[in-house]
């Protein structure tokens, strides 16, 4: 001292690879096999079409409230694409596209969106936590999992997702601080979609970027164009690798946009302008990536058409299967099933009681 500037111990960076029009910064292009690129594109498109379908199902009353993902496909997929199945994912509630990539069936998602806990099953091959509704709370679970992985000397990492709004919660802070102190293999992926329901980013925090919040924890932070899947993937791959190599946590801010309503119960017209949405529609991650693939010569208009058809089919089958499966669901007594490993006597008693109620009155005995 006397009056000097504080130097930070880690870098705070920004990264973009493909611009809005799909033009490539050659130097930064990540090496990805053609097959993997195509798989990513399919997953993006499937995510988009599935979201559209869910929205129409919701409008028809065939599913309940859900949070759309349109516009955020690159942010989610670019991140999870860097994981192995045995790595862990701790999602928030808006990572449907990432969940499907990681083995969750669309059928289950529909069933979950109909209020059946049976929709919360998951592909055992993947270590995915179920969705977590309380904002930011799951970030701590990811840290705990990463702690366990490090303790068990397993070469795996945990990745957790959350929104811009989530960065305001105390749990976000505690998670990043713990991760920094314990240097555990966790990657924090913030989908900065500019809105937390009706609250715009500028009212969420005064910091210019969310990535710079990493400075508070002495960990690296990077802001990427979240609608640029190559940028997201590059940053995620780097962070995952660092975590796997014992280099500790990273905060990745993916700058993206929620093109739809917060959930189907929300009306965004109350708080944001169509013009703003239009600006972001032009930054849609899908056409941009498609341009890149076409420029690269590994994808044609024809391929897109074939893909659209096969996706449509796949979604339809999932809807059909879900609706079929749901006919057999609904037995209320299952509410007692997963309360504890062993159902304690008082719950057995309550279960018997509900059973009696159901048997005497049929459904009518129960419903108000």
């Amino acid at each position: 001292m006397p009056r000097t500037l504080i130097e930070l111990e880690t870098k705070l960076e920004k990264l973009s690879v493909l611009d809005e029009a799909g033009n490539l910064d050659k130097e930064l292009e990540p090496e990805i096999s053609d097959d993997f690129l195509k798989a990513l594109f399919r997953a993006m498109l499937l995510g988009r079409r599935f979201d559209e379908r869910l929205l129409s199902l919701q409008r028809q009353g065939r599913i309940g409230t859900f949070p759309p993902t349109t516009g955020q496909e690159a942010a989610q997929l670019g991140a999870v694409a860097a994981l192995q199945p045995e790595d862990w994912m701790a999602p928030s509630f808006r990572e449907t596209v990432a969940e499907v990539w990681r083995g969750k069936s669309m059928e289950s998602i529909i069933i979950h969106n109909n209020g059946f806990s049976e929709g919360d099953d998951a592909d055992a091959k993947f270590n995915n936590l179920p969705v977590s509704v309380p904002v930011a709370s799951q970030t701590l679970h990811a840290v705990g999992i990463a702690w366990a992985l490090k303790y068990r000397k397993m070469p795996r990492v945990a990745m957790t997702f959350f929104g811009d709004g989530a960065t305001s919660e105390g749990d976000f802070h505690e998670a990043l601080n713990f991760a920094g102190v314990f240097q555990v293999p966790v990657v924090f992926v913030c989908q900065n979609n500019h809105w937390a329901i009706s609250v715009p980013l500028a009212r969420q925090t005064r910091s210019r970027t969310l990535a710079q919040k990493a400075a508070a924890y002495g960990i690296p932070g990077i802001q990427v164009d979240g609608n640029d899947i190559l940028a997201v993937y590059s940053a995620a791959r780097e962070a995952v690798q660092r975590a796997r190599d014992g280099g500790g946590p990273t905060l990745i801010e993916c700058v993206t946009y929620r093109l739809q309503m917060h959930t189907t119960a929300d009306d965004p017209k109350r708080y944001r302008s169509d013009e703003e949405v239009e600006v972001w529609r032009k930054r849609d991650p899908i056409p941009r990536f498609q341009t890149y693939l076409m420029d690269k010569g590994i994808f044609s208009e024809e391929d897109v058409k074939t893909l659209e058809a096969s996706i449509k089919d796949e979604i339809q089958q999932a809807v059909d299967r879900a609706e079929e499966r749901m006919k057999a669901l609904g037995a209320p007594l299952t509410m007692f099933d997963h309360a504890y490993a062993t159902t304690p006597p008082h719950l057995e008693e309550q279960k018997r009681y509900l059973k009696t109620l159901l048997s005497v009155g049929g459904k009518e005995a129960q419903h108000g």
Partner: protein
């Protein structure tokens, strides 16, 4: 008098209090432009400015902790916590501070704040959006716990809560928000916190309920009368803490039978305290144990099954009959 639903009635209460008293400040997530996810604060930011219906960052402890400070400094904050399932994030700010500044400062400071939050099931919502945990707040010394059951009493109680010099937790039943309309006078109306109300008179049985379950209790009373000629006294608690036991104890002294109804889980639920009070104060009048018709001791299931969890009219009727048969 206009016919208002509960959302509109609550909005009226806020609007009028904000008009009269510029120390009343609404704050919370999405309470500004959006008017709250249930629209209870609709139009307040337009009418009174953004500072008076203040959108905050997404942090419940922040909202409530800030409100504690605002209240200590002389304002009357009315926080909205978007769903009661997220009010656990601010639990320590209420238990450790809102409830204690008066005591801790020997009366120099106090915390005239309200924490409004929607509770309860029945609207086909996601996990954490449907539960009832009013006991947590009812057991907590230093706060008051209020649960209205209709548009009119919601409005009157919210006005009283805002004016109350101590912290009030104000649970609003989501199922009631738009369930029905009621005449709500434009003129000021308050209802004392800490008072219950008799809603229906009868000598055979006492039904005790609050919030969304009050309506079911009333429906059950009608059916008991129609179907079996049983006349039920119905008590609406309105305030859970401090608990007014005078009306229900008197009632049980006449009827000898009581059923208490709530959505919250059975064990250590509100019904336990009601039953204990009745036993303490009307033991020799009781002809049968107080019956508790409640949620089960599990987390309320996702919405496809929530109606099997929440006490139904049918179930109240059934348990009431069972109780009386025991005479």
């Amino acid at each position: 008098m206009a016919k208002l639903n509960m959302v509109q009635a609550l909005n009226l209460a806020l609007r009028q209090e904000m008009e009269q008293d510029d120390s009343v400040i609404v704050l919370g997530e999405d309470v500004g432009k959006d008017g709250g996810v249930f629209r209870v604060t609709d139009g307040l930011a337009e009418a009174f400015g953004e500072d008076r219906s203040r959108d905050t960052p997404l942090a419940e402890s922040g909202i409530v902790g800030m409100a504690v400070g605002m209240a200590v400094a002389g304002l009357k904050p009315v926080c909205e916590i978007q769903f009661s399932g997220f009010s656990y994030h601010n639990f320590h700010q209420i238990e450790n501070h809102a409830a204690r500044y008066r005591m801790r400062s020997q009366g120099r400071y106090h915390v005239p704040m309200v924490l409004r939050t929607p509770y309860g099931g029945g609207v086909r919502a996601l996990e954490h959006h449907s539960e009832s945990r009013e006991v947590y707040w009812s057991h907590m010394p230093g706060v008051k716990m209020v649960i209205p059951s209709s548009p009119r009493n919601a409005r009157a109680l919210l006005v009283s809560a805002i004016r109350d010099p101590d912290p009030v937790i104000f649970y609003e039943s989501k199922a009631l928000y738009r369930a029905f309309r009621e005449e709500v006078p434009e003129e000021e109306e308050t209802f004392p916190i800490g008072k219950s109300r008799r809603i229906r008179e009868g000598d055979d049985l006492t039904l005790i309920a609050y919030g969304a379950m009050l309506r079911r209790a009333l429906e059950a009373a009608e059916r008991l009368k129609e179907e079996s000629g049983i006349e039920a006294d119905v008590i609406d608690l309105l305030t859970l803490s401090p608990l007014d036991d005078t009306l229900f104890v008197d009632s049980v002294k006449r009827t000898g039978h009581a059923v208490v109804i709530h959505e919250a889980p059975l064990s250590y639920g509100p019904g336990a305290e009601i039953a204990a009070r009745i036993a303490e104060k009307a033991f020799y009048y009781l002809e049968a144990p107080v019956a508790r018709v409640t949620g089960y001791d599990v987390v309320i299931p996702l919405f496809a099954r929530e109606n099997d969890y929440i006490p139904s009219v049918e179930r109240i009727v059934r348990e009431s009959r069972k109780l009386l048969e025991k005479i």
